[in-house]
C-alpha cells in the first residue's frame, strides 16, 4: 500500500518502513521552532527534569530555532523580561538559530525559517505556533504544538505519541484570473471544508496551479491550512522548492524531495479549477465564513492591514504598492503594512515599494505579528472594521471584542484602501 507525503516523512522519522493513517508513532524532530512563548516552554522544560537527577539540557541545540516576532520591540516590561530570560537560555544552551530584534536578522518566524533555509523537504518541523503548518510549503511535515509538547521535544528530540493523520488531496488546476491568487484559493477551500473540515488531517496540494505557484504563494496555502483545522498543508517539493532553497535561502546541502506514492491512500480528493475562483473574503467572526468579494462590497473599512506571516512577503508588498503608487489611501481609512521579515523590508525599500506605500499614506510597521493577534499596536476601536491580509478574524482577534475583521488578499486590501470600503479588486484602482 502506498504512502502520502506526510506518511512517508513520519515513517522515515519514526524509523519505520511503512505507516498508515491512525498509526501512533514517535517521529524524530529535525527542527523545533518557538517565538516569545519559549518563555513558557522553558518553564515546562525545567519541570520535566525536576527529580531526574539530570541537568536540563536540550537534546540538540542545532535543531532549535527561536525567533522574536510577537512583540517586537517589547511593549511592556513583562515581555522585555521574558525576552531577556530567553536570550539567557539561548546563550546557556548554545542555540544558534536565534533571531533577535534586529533589522539584519529579524522577522516573523514563518518567514525566517524558509528565508534562512532552515526547513528542507522531508523534515519533521514542530513549532509552538499553530501557523507552523506554513512550512509544508517546502515539502516538509510541519506541526503546530503547545508549549509542553515543545518542552518534551527539547528533552527527547521526538514528538511523543503522534497519530499519523489522514490526508486530503487537493488538486488545483487551471490558471488564476487577474486579481485572484493563492489567498483567494485558500479562503475558498476553507469555506468549502469549514473550520474543522481538515481537523487531525493533512492537506496535500497538487495540480498545475500549484506547480506554477511561487514559494510565497505556497506558504499562503499551507499557512492557512490550519484554519480548516489541518495539522499541516504540504506542497510536495519540486524544482521551484529546490531553486528557492538554493538561490534565495543559500542552502548547499543535498535536498531530497519526498513525493507521494502513486497508490497513496487519500481520505478525500478535492478538485478545483482556479479559473473559477473569484476574489474571496472571510467575513467576521470565523475564517470559514467565506464569500466572494462581491457579496461584501461597500462595507466601510477603518483599518487596512497588509502583512503578517500569511501575506507580508515581497510579492504581496509589490501588489499593494502597485495599486497605491501615485494614489492615496482614502480619507477616514488608515493603512498599516507589516513586512514579514527585515530582509523583505530592506528589499521592498530598495525597490521603492515602501516609498510608494508611504506616499499613499500607509504606515510601515516593524516586521512582526503586530496587530494580527492584538498584542502589539494597531488595535481596533469599538465598532471599527478592519480588512486584513492576515489569517484570523475571530472576535477580539485584533485586540477588541467589539470590532470586526474581514480577511482578503493583498490586492483586494490595497484596492479597498483606495476607496475606504471593501472593493472588488477586479475593478482596479479606478
Amino acid at each position: 500500500m502506498g504512502m502520502t507525503v506526510a506518511e512517508k516523512i513520519l515513517a522515515r522519522a519514526a524509523g519505520l518502513p511503512l505507516v498508515a493513517a491512525g498509526d501512533v508513532v514517535e517521529p524524530r524532530v529535525d527542527l523545533a521552532m518557538s517565538h516569545e512563548n519559549a518563555a513558557l516552554v522553558m518553564n515546562q522544560f525545567a519541570q520535566i527534569f525536576e527529580g531526574t537527577g539530570r541537568g536540563a539540557r536540550v537534546w540538540d541545540a542545532e535543531k532549535i530555532a527561536i525567533i522574536f516576532d510577537h512583540r517586537v520591540p517589547a511593549e511592556t516590561s513583562k515581555t522585555a523580561t521574558n525576552q531577556k530570560r530567553i536570550r539567557e537560555f539561548v546563550a546557556a544552551q548554545g542555540i544558534s538559530k536565534f533571531h533577535d530584534v534586529r533589522s539584519d536578522e529579524g522577522g516573523i518566524c514563518h518567514q525566517i525559517l524558509p528565508e534562512y533555509g532552515y526547513v528542507h523537504p522531508g523534515m519533521v518541523v514542530v513549532g509552538t505556533d499553530s501557523h507552523t503548518s506554513s512550512h509544508g510549503a517546502l515539502g516538509a511535515m510541519a506541526i503546530g504544538v503547545g508549549a509542553t509538547d515543545m518542552a518534551a521535544v527539547w528533552a527527547l528530540g521526538r514528538l511523543v505519541n503522534v497519530e499519523v493523520p489522514a490526508t486530503i488531496k487537493v488538486v488545483a488546476d487551471g490558471e488564476f484570473r487577474p486579481a485572484v491568487g493563492p489567498k483567494d484559493l485558500i479562503l475558498y477551500l476553507i469555506g468549502m471544508l469549514s473550520a474543522e473540515g481538515a481537523n487531525f488531517r493533512v492537506i496535500e496540494f497538487h495540480g498545475r496551479a500549484i506547480r506554477h505557484m511561487t514559494i510565497s504563494g505556497r506558504l499562503v496555502l499551507c499557512n492557512m491550512s490550519v484554519e480548516a483545522g489541518a495539522t499541516c498543508g504540504i506542497v510536495p517539493a519540486d524544482e521551484t522548492t529546490i531553486d528557492y532553497l538554493r538561490e534565495e535561502a543559500g542552502v548547499s546541502d543535498i535536498l531530497t524531495p519526498v513525493l507521494p506514492d502513486a497508490d497513496a491512500v487519500y481520505e478525500e480528493t478535492i478538485e478545483i479549477d482556479v479559473a473559477h475562483v473569484e476574489p474571496q473574503v472571510a467575513k467576521p467572526h470565523t475564517v470559514d465564513n467565506v464569500a466572494p468579494v462581491t457579496e461584501v462590497e461597500g462595507v466601510k473599512v477603518d483599518q487596512i492591514v497588509v502583512g503578517s506571516c500569511t501575506n507580508g512577503r515581497l510579492e504581496d508588498l509589490e501588489a499593494a504598492a502597485g495599486v497605491l503608487r501615485d494614489r492615496k489611501v482614502a480619507k477616514g481609512t488608515r493603512m498599516l503594512v507589516f513586512p514579514a521579515s527585515w530582509r523583505i523590508y530592506r528589499e521592498a525599500l530598495r525597490r521603492g515599494y515602501l516609498a510608494d506605500l508611504i506616499e499613499a499614506g500607509a504606515v510601515i510597521m516593524n516586521p512582526g505579528c503586530g496587530c494580527c493577534l492584538g498584542v502589539h499596536q494597531g488595535a481596533l476601536g469599538d465598532g471599527e472594521v478592519a480588512l486584513a491580509t492576515t489569517n484570523r478574524n475571530f472576535r477580539g482577534r485584533m485586540g477588541n471584542p467589539n470590532a470586526s475583521v474581514y480577511l482578503a488578499s493583498p490586492v483586494t486590501a490595497a484596492v479597498s484602501a483606495l476607496h475606504g470600503v471593501i472593493t472588488d479588486p477586479r475593478k482596479g484602482g479606478s
Binding site: G22, V24, E36, N37, A39, L40, N43, Q44, Q47, I48, F49, E50, G51, T52, R54, H70, R71, T76, K78, T79, N82, T128, D129, S130, T132, G144, V145, G146, A147, T148, D149, A151, A152, A155, L156, V160, N161, V162, E163, A195, E196, N199, F200, G229, T231, T286, D288, L373, G374, V375, R392, F394, R395, G396, R397, G399, P401
Partner: protein, 165 residues
Amino acid sequence: MAKVVLRLGDDVSTDAIYPGRFMATVLPTETPQHCFADHVEFNKKLVQGEVAPGSVVVAGRNFGTGSSREQAASCLKGWDLVVVAHNYSRIFLQNAVNLGLRLVVCSALEADEGDELEFTPHTVVNQTTVRTYPIEPLPRARLAIVEAGGLIPYVRMKLLEERLD
C-alpha cells in the same frame, strides 16, 4: 454532580478562551485571571470565586480552534473546569491532555446553563433533563499521556527509562 456554568456554541477559539493581549502572561498561577476575559460576566464570576471547582463548560463542535497558546488550557485548568464538547481542535486537545485538563467528548449532549451533570466512565447523565449521552474516547495517541497524569510526568518517565537503557 457538576453544574453547567457556561454554554457556548461551535468553533470557540483560543482567542475567546484566552485573548491574545494576555499572552505575555504564561504562569499557570496567573493565566486563570484572564480565562474568558472578553466574556466579561463569566470572567467576573470566576475571579470572584463564584464558580465551584469541577463545574462544566459545554460547547459544540471544534472547541479550542485557532492559536496553539497553551494558556487557553492552563486558564481552564486553573479553575478546575471540565469541558464537554462535541469535538476539539487538535492542538487544544493535545494541550489540554498534556496539562491534565479534563475534556469530555460527547457529540450528542444537550444541556443548558444551570443543568446538573453526572459523569460515569462511558456516559454523561443530564440529571436535570434525566437523559443519558454516550462519551466518545479521546484519540488513541493521547491515552498514555492521560494515564501518566499529563505530559510532564510522561516525559520524565521516558527520560528515566532511557537512562536505564
